[in-house]
Symmetry: C2
Subunit: 389 residues, 2 copies
């Protein structure tokens, strides 16, 4: 297998982008990444797209062909692949793209993620999001995505792994970083009180524990590491990309206070990169609900069981506060969560950190950064590790 | 890159399978393929699923995790990927799986395709299928999938490439083979008159020019060629797997009497396999509408422009009739077309032909067989070539 490098990144503003269509935001991110790599579009020989449900959000299937076409790649008949894995769609698409270059089947690949969610009413959006839970054993019984995460939160509090305040502080951490990110959906710091007093969604989680409904797209360009210098001096090595699955329904797990798929994917990624959790200086983790941030930090090996929440509450995962900064982009909570885009946007943030291009949220002298993308309630997890060159 | 082999295949009956759920048919095909390969389920280290729209057909996204879970792979946290490319979803999933093994990232991979379409009323199904056309420039203008293919058929007749009777004979060819396939949805030979007098769908295409709405699943198991003998004596080499894209909307093509993506994918595949079209003895082609069969035979290089229809009408693509047999499974028309399953089911048929295991529809002493899967109106095409060992 060949080593793989990221040579360009692009991202749109995340938020309620009512003046641009799904295809427009997808193209915007892709063209930014291609320009950032210093390429002409016809140098791309493969395209991968992470997308959760354009078929339901904007009534468009077959968006592999759509994006290839509108990026000008149809004239070269460039192969295009759409990947879906619930919330982890972007992370899985990134892994497929890395595989394509590593295998030698492709040389210069664009991998994008995109979702346009705000064109529908909230009830329709929630029904689509709930379809990533188990339709027959969860959704049909009335369980929603928020209520599944609320059950995890209750159990975490019950078992003494984190307090309600510690869980809430994951949102405070993300918003503080979001205030530093011009592309974030919410660019405003908040206090713990804001989270605790926000309107209830599913007890104990409130509005500020939940990532918003968002539009947005992100993209990166990959090539073999040995060829990266031909294109740019500012490239980043893909040190590892791993994936793991778990049961679709939450009730089939022995322990819902840990995601086995995160643990498995992280172990595979650390082994492939030849490092440990202690080597990671910056991480983007899947805080679709605040409790997801607690699970992630614990399951990725950054903190012992019961310690993650304490560090969040103390502000220890802020840029400059400690050895590890978490969700410098603003995370899913403040940056926004256009589902298919999220996994790729995390890669964009970590790549920018590795390049020293993260502006006000730059961590000092990073060598390794990590992105974790979660589908369902931990049913599919990707863990990618990037290395500064 | 490593060479890749198919070591097991499995397929369900295609048809209106009202007594089994989506997940049940997906698992049935997968377990058959694993058993056929002589494997235990825990020897599989990667899973790829082609599926067009379970999110709309059965309200279930994230079926990567669903199938991994219900196949018993969640306990090993096996990575699972769902791929969508309209009608070509199964073909693209097969290519991703081959890439995974060729790259060395996976060793023993299960690739499946599944769709459950008959649980909804016909209007809902048609609306979902139409979503693989361009939502903004075709579907929004009232163009449906049948009417787009009818326009191609009209142009083909107008330009003298094939007559109405020759186009209709593609259906006769498929039904004759379907009568020999116990897993086919329609196992009855028909006459040209049946097609020509069938109820109109979109002029000039009638009911018998159109593939049915179907439920079904298919699966194959892959491993590195060098390891295939450890599992079975009856394996098949993947000689090539290629993919190409084209514009999503039909009006943006210079010529709608040829699919540029088929030509491009076929050329890439023949080059990779080191053969020409003349070396292929059996082919499964995408006859979702009869006119698709004419386009395929022409664009894959099996017949000169204007000659494909004549051979279909003469029965020249029947098993035993000539140098090339087409759609020995019954094709999409008679075997059935559960969208995500189709591309994988084609691979199953060609693999069985290469093994000499195709029973009454076996071609004599085959060395090379080909499968062509088409998304949209030629917006994404995969061409796979299998070689008998």
């Amino acid at each position: 297998m060949r080593d793989v490098a990221i040579i360009g990144v692009g991202v749109t503003r995340f938020g309620e982008i009512w003046n641009k269509s799904f295809r427009a935001i997808g193209i915007e991110a892709g063209l930014k990444a291609i320009a950032d790599a210093g390429l002409a579009g016809d140098e791309i020989d493969g395209l991968f797209i992470g997308n959760m449900s354009a078929g339901r959000f904007v009534n468009q299937q077959h968006i592999d062909a759509l994006i290839a076409d509108y990026s000008g790649m149809a004239s070269n008949h460039v192969p295009a692949v759409r990947v879906e894995a619930g919330d982890a769609s972007g992370g899985v698409a990134f892994r497929q793209a890395v595989m394509a270059v590593a295998s030698g089947m492709h040389d210069t690949v664009l991998v994008g993620g995109a979702e346009k969610m705000t064109d529908l009413d909230d009830a329709s959006v929630n029904s689509i999001v709930d379809a990533t839970a188990d339709a027959e054993w969860e959704a049909a019984m009335g369980l929603t995505f928020p209520s599944l995460h609320a059950m995890i939160a209750r159990r975490i509090i019950h078992d003494g792994i984190a307090t309600r305040e510690e869980i809430a502080s994951v949102s405070v951490n993300s918003h503080a970083h979001g205030a530093l990110n011009p592309d974030a959906q919410f660019r405003k710091a908040i206090t713990l009180d804001t989270v605790l007093k926000s309107g209830p969604v599913a007890e104990p989680l409130g509005m500020f524990d939940c990532a918003p409904i968002s539009d947005g797209a992100a993209a990166v360009v990959l090539c073999p590491l040995e060829k990266a210098k031909e294109f740019t001096d500012s490239y980043v090595k893909v040190a590892a990309v791993a994936q793991a699955s778990d049961t679709l329904a939450l009730f089939q797990r022995e322990d819902i206070t840990t995601y086995g798929a995160t643990v498995a994917a992280a172990n595979r990624a650390y082994e492939a990169a030849g490092i440990t959790a202690a080597d990671i200086q910056v991480a983007e983790v899947h805080d679709n609900y605040t409790v997801g941030g607690i699970l992630a930090v614990q399951d990725l090996g950054f903190a012992k069981r019961g310690e993650a929440g304490k560090t969040f509450l103390e502000g220890g995962y802020q840029v400059g506060a400690g050895k590890l900064a978490v969700n410098t982009s603003g995370g899913l909570k403040a940056r926004g969560h256009p589902i298919g885009a999220t996994g790729v946007a995390q890669i964009v943030e970590i790549a920018q950190q590795m390049r020293g291009a993260a502006d006000k949220r730059q961590v000092a002298n990073p060598r390794y950064g990590l992105a974790q993308s979660v589908g369902g309630t931990g049913s599919a997890v990707t863990v990618s590790i990037l290395e500064a060159i």
